[in-house]
Symmetry: C2
Subunit: 334 residues, 2 copies
């Protein structure tokens, strides 16, 4: 199976390679109708399809972007990827997906690999462990957009949920329902995972705004595996919370596992609101009140920004943090 190239088409059509190339790139300006016809026919007959790798080498653009997520298994990442893919597809870009697993070493390997493959840009959920590398990328005017994590002192457009708002929506809803003793459960608070931090901050601010003093005993964070114990301690203390904000979907699952195991009625024994609108929120009993992140809009925006940066690498206007509003979905759990 000899692969057929532009040279073959040119010979078959009786024109030069240049002319075929012009044709393929739709530079018809001065092309004779007859020439066009001959080339079309030759392409058809030979079943020619251009080699984009060769074009990429010459044009120094691969029409491909890299997307580095922490883990494609997370629903939020999946939705973001889907939105990016849809947007890119319209512009004839492809995406290479990488799972960095929150490991800076893997992240660096992927970045190097993507650059070696000459991708035109990268959208990343940065781990926080490669600040210097990202700085080099900006120095080289390599287009990058961040998603869901803020890195200090790095001039890169960043797409974020308004996490403070998310918490404030959650606390606000609980307060409105008459709860005052409101706990929060979060994954481990590392400085690099911005949403966790911001949601915690937002929780504190919202309490204050509602005139509720912060009670450290109602605040729990820890690895998923140790959360069950910590939840138990929190709920069995002298003055337990009447309501809980679950900081994300995985925490919510832990809380639900706990309430099920201990036969706690929601919202009678403990009211509940979760950040992330999980798939089963509507069919759970009771149905779960949640805060939804606009993942699709966020993914689309990330793709938009990246492609605009790819088109104009020195467009500094795009820098900054883009906040997307979460929404409250009221159901029965609080």
């Amino acid at each position: 199976m000899k692969t057929i190239t532009m040279a073959d088409v040119a010979k078959h059509a009786g024109v030069s390679k240049s002319t075929v190339s012009q044709f393929l790139n739709k530079r018809y300006d001065y092309m004779g109708a007859e020439t066009k016809g001959k080339i079309e026919k030759a392409i058809e007959e030979l079943g020619y399809s251009p080699n984009i790798v060769a074009r990429s080498l010459k044009q120094k653009s691969t029409k491909t972007i890299g997307v580095i997520v922490a883990n494609i298994l997370h629903v939020f990442s999946t939705q973001v990827i889907r939105a990016i893919e849809d947007y890119c597809n319209e512009s004839d870009f492809q995406i290479i997906v990488c799972n960095a697993d929150d490991d800076p070493v893997k992240e660096k390997r992927y970045i190097d690999m993507l650059r070696a493959k000459q991708v035109d840009g990268i959208i990343a959920f940065p781990t926080g462990g490669n600040v210097e590398l990202y700085k080099k990328l900006i120095d080289a005017k390599f287009p990058v957009v961040f998603m869901d994590r803020i890195l200090k002192d790095v001039q890169i457009p960043t797409i974020m949920t308004d996490n403070v708002k998310a918490s404030s929506l959650a606390v606000g809803q609980l307060v409105e329902r008459g709860y005052r003793k409101i706990g929060m459960i979060s994954p481990p608070i590392h400085t690099c995972v911005t949403p966790r931090l911001e949601r915690m901050d937002g929780y504190k601010q919202a309490l204050e705004k509602n005139g509720i003093p912060l009670n450290p005993n109602l605040l729990v964070s820890g690895e998923l595996t140790e959360l069950a114990d910590k939840i138990h301690n929190m709920l069995t203390q002298a003055s337990p919370p009447e309501a809980i904000v679950a900081s994300n979907d995985r925490v919510l699952l832990e809380v639900l596992a706990y309430t099920k195991k201990h036969h706690l009625a929601i919202p009678k024994d403990i009211a509940l609101i979760g950040i992330d609108d999980v798939s089963f929120a509507g069919i759970y009993t009771p149905s779960l009140t949640t805060i939804a992140q606009p993942a699709f809009q966020m993914g689309k925006k990330a793709a938009e920004l990246l492609l605009s940066l790819i088109r104009d690498k020195s467009n500094e206007e795009v820098f900054g943090i883009y906040r997307f509003e979460p929404t409250l979905i009221t159901r029965e759990s609080c």
Copy 2:
């Protein structure tokens, strides 16, 4: 920012491009230690990283594969992709993800694009609408592996859940629990979506094996949007089922929405088992008995087969259908 090339490294190290290339490809056989040192130093000093596009053009291998799924939002697809990515990562392959949305036109566009980009192979959840195209690919010895769908008369290795077994596991469990009037609810039955067909067949076979006559009134299939009505009709007929097999996760969600809305107790009013182990199966009340598909193993196998096909394109031994055993996870819903 001039990008630095192999020629720059060669000049800087005082050797030829060929020698640098040998070095990069670890063909150290006859290379002097001194030469090696000079090149290493030059690469280091210049911060050189090879252009893989150029290499790909010459070597006719991009170390990239395409993965065409119906929809990355489906949990099963996500898990398969994750497994593929993990496996490819070990072999220094990258994956380009495409969503064909069960649309043959989109599927064809993606296949053409991936080939133009010179990917080394494709893993696809085929729509069934591009049989001729796939046949051409095999004729051209282009490596392809199918996932989750069987296309007749196409010589392509195909990874499948043993769907008949999945249904038989489900029906078996219900029978063991004492149910005889067992219904099944399925998405629309199109011939091209193999799992639906096979699960339906498996259901029928399992009934027969258990000496239960098939009752067409206990068999429902339809679009997700019309399922609520159809479920209603099924459950309010003269002789309704005592137990239901939900053919996949999305159907299960519909059933659950229905039972919640109509305050049906599970399993008292209606017992339930779902194919696909949904994330909330354990924390639902009652917890849900499910049949799990080994998505990760399946994804890994697909990647294995594809890479082996890429290494040896005429390896016909790999053709055939690979069946993976689903497992019963017993919980409380039946």
